[in-house]
């Protein structure tokens, strides 16, 4: 079987299109590359959706934590502590079993026990908490002069927030937020190891890498392939976020722009 046929058969295996049966023996390099790559679809799905939806909740949580209303402030602080203080792995387990016990209550909860929705919700809340803390930190360091200048121009309330506070906050938070995005994508690999079942063996990249390592007793091929894909993904994220960073800083003189410092060292 040529490699093209393998790609045609297994390229979209992780979302249920193509050959149903996974290879049983004589695992070729091509099969491993194709299936692990096919699993990346799920990593990207979880990462992109959680990041995009989490962004808005993160902004809300950051504003809540910075607000003077004690109820809002406490609620946001607790939300952040809850999701940053406990392991994501346990959060996945808890959410899965929570949805499982809610299942008999109402059929509405049926989709929540499958990974595509249940795990996505956990990732969404988790990234909202982590980014919320980053945005809160940035919000605290918005220069006072900027706000005073806005006041002098007669801006207040929503227009001041939209045109001054929020863009400055994003500008300050962006390098840290890039790291957060990278970690979120790394964290998506936990999904299929934490209760959420891989229905009909449709899993993410690590699921397939683990499958091959278990079958061949040889970890030295599938895991480096996985690493290759993730390094590629990381570079794409850095590129995209770098473009946004350039746009956020486009009015500043060259030397005042915040450099994208790549720091990768957090698990959750």
């Amino acid at each position: 079987m040529s490699c093209w046929e393998t790609i045609a058969d297994y390229g979209l295996r992780s979302i249920g299109i193509g050959e149903r049966v996974l290879p049983r023996e004589g695992f070729t390099l091509c099969q491993q590359f194709t299936l692990i790559g096919s699993g990346m679809i799920w990593n990207i799905y979880f990462g992109v959706l959680a990041l995009c939806s989490g962004f808005f909740l993160a902004t809300a949580v950051a504003l809540g934590k910075a607000s003077r209303n004690p109820v809002l402030q406490k609620a946001s602080a607790w939300f952040i502590f809850l999701f940053r203080g406990s392991p994501l792995f346990i959060q996945f387990f808890f959410a899965y079993f929570l949805f499982l016990s809610l299942k008999p209550v109402s059929p509405i909860f049926d989709p929540f026990t499958s990974a595509w929705l249940g795990a996505l919700i956990v990732l969404f809340l988790n990234t909202a908490a982590y980014s919320g803390e980053i945005f809160y930190g940035a919000l605290q360091s918005v220069p006072r002069g900027d706000i005073e200048a806005a006041d002098a121009y007669g801006m207040s309330g929503w227009s001041r927030f939209k045109r001054i506070t929020w863009p400055t906050m994003l500008r300050l938070a962006w390098p840290a937020y890039t790291n957060e995005a990278i970690f979120l994508f790394h964290a998506t690999t936990l999904v299929y190891f934490s209760g959420f079942p891989a229905w009909q063996q449709r899993g993410d990249a690590l699921y397939y890498a683990n499958f091959f390592a278990d079958k061949t007793f040889n970890p030295f091929i599938p895991y480096p392939i996985l690493a290759f894909y993730f390094i590629l993904l990381t570079l794409v994220i850095i590129g995209l976020f770098g473009l946004i960073n350039r746009r956020l800083n486009r009015h500043l003189p060259q030397e005042n722009r915040r450099k994208m410092a790549l720091k990768l060292n957090i698990i959750r």
Partner: protein, 293 residues
């Protein structure tokens, strides 16, 4: 455990719960909490040692050594950590068995990779096939600790490398001007001063390490996650004196609370340590303390 636990079916709720939570299996989950602490107690210093080695070799002026150090820091950081956990446990196991195989069975001619199997001679197996259960468990735990130490060593190396570069250059130049050798500068000037710069990063790393401990479950150790799944599952009256429905949700809620408390306590302690370390330092934090006094 208690004397009134003879017939659980006749007990009222509170007493039933007291009996239920002290069965032999529940003792196993409480001991596995100590497994977590043990893992942290062993891994933290080992990872720090790995990190120190990594950081000092990345600083080395001998190019190959510095490449090794930098590659160690870079590779582990670019890839999901959990992939490394899954990888190292098998890879290390095979590495040890292969080394023993080469030493103990030098006249073995077959390849150790036979199709889909990894085969070494019997006396090179780790642990030996006839070893008691606890040896297997200890070996599994040892592999887990080593894996944690390698992965977290890379994170620590990154922190320490940054801290070493944060020590003011003038300090090192002054030491050289006094005629110290490179080795003396490193041990007498650089190392004692770098800790204050490393502490924020290291305490962050400690938090991350705490939150990584449930991954022990993936490495095949019978840890709290394993027991929470075991004990929480629905039990029928046929197999146990304490039948109950699916309680896994509550078990994981308890784990969630345990980790939240653990990180909170760590946070408070580390803040205290930082306060002590910055006392009298010529940094912003030290200035703040001086002004407050």
């Amino acid at each position: 455990m208690f004397s009134f636990c003879v017939d659980p079916a006749s007990l009222d709720d509170l007493a039933w719960m007291a009996c239920y939570l002290t069965t032999g299996k529940h003792m196993a989950i409480y001991t596995s909490v100590f497994t977590v602490f043990l893992l942290l107690a062993i891994t933290a210093p080992t990872a720090l040692a790995f990190g120190f080695l990594g950081a000092s070799s990345a600083r080395s002026h001998f190019a190959p050594l510095s490449w090794i150090g930098k590659a160690y820091i870079a590779i582990v950081r670019g890839v999901p950590d959990i992939a490394f956990f899954l990888f190292f446990v098998i890879a290390l196991d095979q590495l040890f068995e292969w080394i023993r195989h080469e030493i103990k069975c030098p006249d073995w001619t077959d390849s150790i990779w036979q199709g889909n199997d990894f085969v070494v001679c019997d006396i090179a197996k780790l642990p030996l096939g006839n070893a008691p259960q606890w040896v297997h468990e200890t070996y599994g735990f040892f592999l887990a600790v080593l894996t944690f130490a390698i992965v977290f060593g890379a994170f620590a190396a990154n922190v320490l490398y940054g801290a070493m570069r944060a020590v003011p250059q003038n300090q090192l130049e002054t030491a050289e001007a006094y005629g110290m050798t490179r080795r003396q500068v490193f041990w007498r000037i650089l190392v004692p001063q770098m800790w204050v710069y490393a502490l924020p990063g290291l305490s962050n790393l400690w938090m991350v390490l705490i939150k990584a401990t449930p991954l022990l479950f993936l490495l095949g150790v019978e840890d709290i996650v394993y027991w929470a799944r075991e004990l929480g599952g629905a039990k029928t009256a046929r197999f146990t004196d304490y039948p109950h429905g699916d309680w896994r949700m509550w078990y994981f809620l308890a784990l969630l609370v345990f980790y939240l408390l653990f990180t909170r306590v760590s946070e408070i302690v580390l803040d205290k340590v930082m306060l002590r370390l910055t006392h009298g330092q010529a940094t912003l934090a030290g200035d703040a303390q001086r002004k407050a006094a």
